[in-house]
């Protein structure tokens, strides 16, 4: 691959531009991933995959908030045995890095699923330790530095591909969690997952989501995500992938100035469309030229006064 001003090296993966598809969005099949790569995505992250199939929650699984979306899908996925076929199919067709998102109900399970995903062709893994709406996985791992460190160590010991850890903002101190993940061997940190949230219907006086509580995404969480990236950048050395409400190139640049080496986009696929990646990348390119930067790497963490 020819290196351009937008080329990013992320924990050993080469990305043609800093934009990636966030986990949980589309992400079942090779054809879907290809359509997103056509839209400019330089890497894609799958839905979170576990050891066994999960049907997810009953609808309503999504509700619109004023400046975002609250979802509680419940990690629907066909399980790693079935999904391994999709991974190998996707790997054959895809020209960008394929990152498989993993969840588990124990450190051993995370490690086992990770191993199977890598065997099927995953270029990297993203550990979902921050799902706000499924009990005994996700948040329970991502809120506890000791448990998290054990999960990361077990996965690290069983695969030889880069491991990203997706952090939750639903914690007292995100830097404490970030440090635990980095010390345990995480190659990059994705900051952040959704924020715990809910919506209640005033007419029926009922919570709208069938799971009652879900995770808030979209522009509403962007300032929080930027702050998290900024704090994590000051506390760890591993690269950060910024995520949370990125809709346009200005948002993306803001995350990079805060310290993100790459960024992920999810909710904006509904508001902008599948070409959101291209739009963000081309806006960034113009910004770099206008500001006289030769590479996007020069702006990573630039807002920190050293």
């Amino acid at each position: 691959m020819k290196n351009g001003p937008l080329t990013v090296n992320l924990a050993g993966l080469t990305l043609a531009n800093p934009t990636m598809l966030a986990s949980g969005i589309l992400g079942y099949s090779a054809e879907t991933f290809e359509s997103l790569v056509k839209g400019g995505a330089a890497a894609v992250v799958t839905k979170s995959i576990g050891l066994k199939p999960r049907v997810g929650y009953a609808n309503p699984t999504i509700v619109q908030a004023d400046y975002g979306l609250i979802n509680a899908m419940g990690l629907p996925n066909p399980g790693i045995e079935e999904y391994a076929k999709e991974i190998s199919e996707t790997k054959k067709a895809l020209k960008v890095p394929l990152i498989v998102s993993i969840y588990g109900f124990s450190a051993e399970e995370y490690a086992l699923v990770s191993r199977k995903a890598v065997d099927a062709g995953a270029d990297a893994l993203e550990l979902n330790v921050s799902c706000p709406h499924v009990k005994e996985t996700g948040l329970e791992v991502g809120q506890n530095p000791k448990i998290l460190a054990e999960v990361v160590r077990k996965v690290k010991a069983s695969v030889d591909k880069p491991i990203f850890v997706k952090l939750s903002p639903n914690v007292t101190s995100i830097t404490e969690i970030a440090e635990a993940a980095a010390e345990a061997g995480a190659d990059a940190l994705t900051v952040i997952n959704t924020l715990k949230a809910m919506a209640i219907d005033t007419e029926t006086v009922m919570p709208i989501l069938s799971n009652r509580i879900g995770g808030l995404s979209g522009p509403a969480i962007k300032p929080i995500a930027v702050r998290c990236v900024y704090e994590v950048y000051e506390s760890v050395k591993v690269p950060i992938i910024g995520c949370g409400g990125i809709t346009n190139w200005q948002d993306a640049v803001e995350f990079m100035l805060a310290g993100a080496a790459a960024i992920q986009i999810g909710t904006a696929l509904a508001t902008v469309g599948r070409n959101v990646f291209q739009k963000v990348a081309s806006g960034m390119n113009k910004y770099l030229k206008h500001k006289g930067f030769k590479s996007v790497k020069e702006i990573v963490g630039l807002s920190h006064h050293k």
Binding site: I25, T32, S35, N59, T61, D201, T204
Partner: protein
């Protein structure tokens, strides 16, 4: 930052204004919803049955006074619960979502099976208002399940409606596709619109290609978000909720291994169509 907004996705509630039984398992509900009342034929709504589920339903009719109607056949827990709701009960609404049938010809053929006639009847009314002359082929298992047949015969004129029943209790004995080939040999249509069981629609697509006629089909898949994010409804590279639910023959050819054969289940696994 401009106000964040996904068209028509805001959750709102409304009251059921009328319920009409069409058959032992089929009811027509009418309620008021400004946004859905602007729906075009082929679009769908996500209907919340509080405490039970939220399901996609195609719109049967929508008009300028803010009213919309939907046709509900009991096929599972959610539709059973919905069909037990009465006038005055509260339901939740999102939408309308998806694209719509395009009226671009005069000589049109409708092929509907089961509840698939709902969006086609809506389309037929709009097309007739534009001076089109639709012929409507409608299929059901038995006479009792031929919903809205009277309304169809009044809308299209009786001679333009060809009904089929699997048991021969009304019209031609057989499937909706049974009289199709004879019809296509006899008359030249510019476009076929179809909605109903996917295996039926697949057969209609094959015939449309054989006789070189344009086609639009409305597809059904599991739906969750309805705004193109969750991936539950994907077929090939398409999201049925956002890129569809109406697809043309050219698009359907790109998913010919799936269309009429398989869909994704709640886990995202590809399973054979029933």
């Amino acid at each position: 930052m401009s106000a964040y907004h996904i068209t028509n996705n805001q959750h709102r509630t409304t009251h059921i204004l009328s319920v009409k039984a069409e058959s032992p398992t089929v009811k027509i509900f009418t309620f008021k919803d400004k946004q859905c009342a602007k729906a075009k034929p082929g679009q769908f709504t996500m209907l919340w049955i509080p405490g039970v589920d939220e399901i996609p339903l195609s719109i049967l009719d929508a008009n300028t006074n803010g009213m919309i109607s939907i046709l509900v056949k009991e096929v599972g827990e959610a539709t059973k619960a919905l069909n037990s709701r009465k006038v005055g009960d509260v339901i939740g609404v999102r939408g309308p979502f998806g694209n719509n049938f395009k009226i671009k010809a005069n000589k049109m053929l409708m092929v509907g099976g089961g509840t698939g006639i709902a969006p086609l009847l809506f389309l037929t009314k709009k097309a007739i208002a534009k001076n089109a002359k639709p012929v409507f082929v409608v299929g059901a298992k038995t006479k009792k399940e031929l919903f809205l047949i009277k309304e169809l015969e009044e809308t299209c004129k009786k001679e333009n409606v060809i009904a089929t029943t699997e048991d021969g209790s009304y019209g031609i004995k057989g499937l909706a596709t049974t009289p199709l080939e004879t019809l296509l040999k006899k008359e030249k249509f510019e476009i076929i619109y179809t909605c109903g069981p996917e295996k039926m629609m697949r057969r209609v697509l094959d015939l449309a290609e054989k006789y070189d006629i344009a086609l639009e089909a409305s597809l059904e898949r599991l739906m969750r978000c309805a705004i193109g994010l969750c991936g539950s409804c994907v077929i090939g590279k398409y999201r049925v909720c956002r890129d569809g639910p109406v697809f043309n023959a050219k698009q359907l050819r790109t998913v010919k291994d799936e269309f009429g054969f398989s869909q994704r289940d709640f886990t995202g696994k590809m399973v054979p169509l029933k």
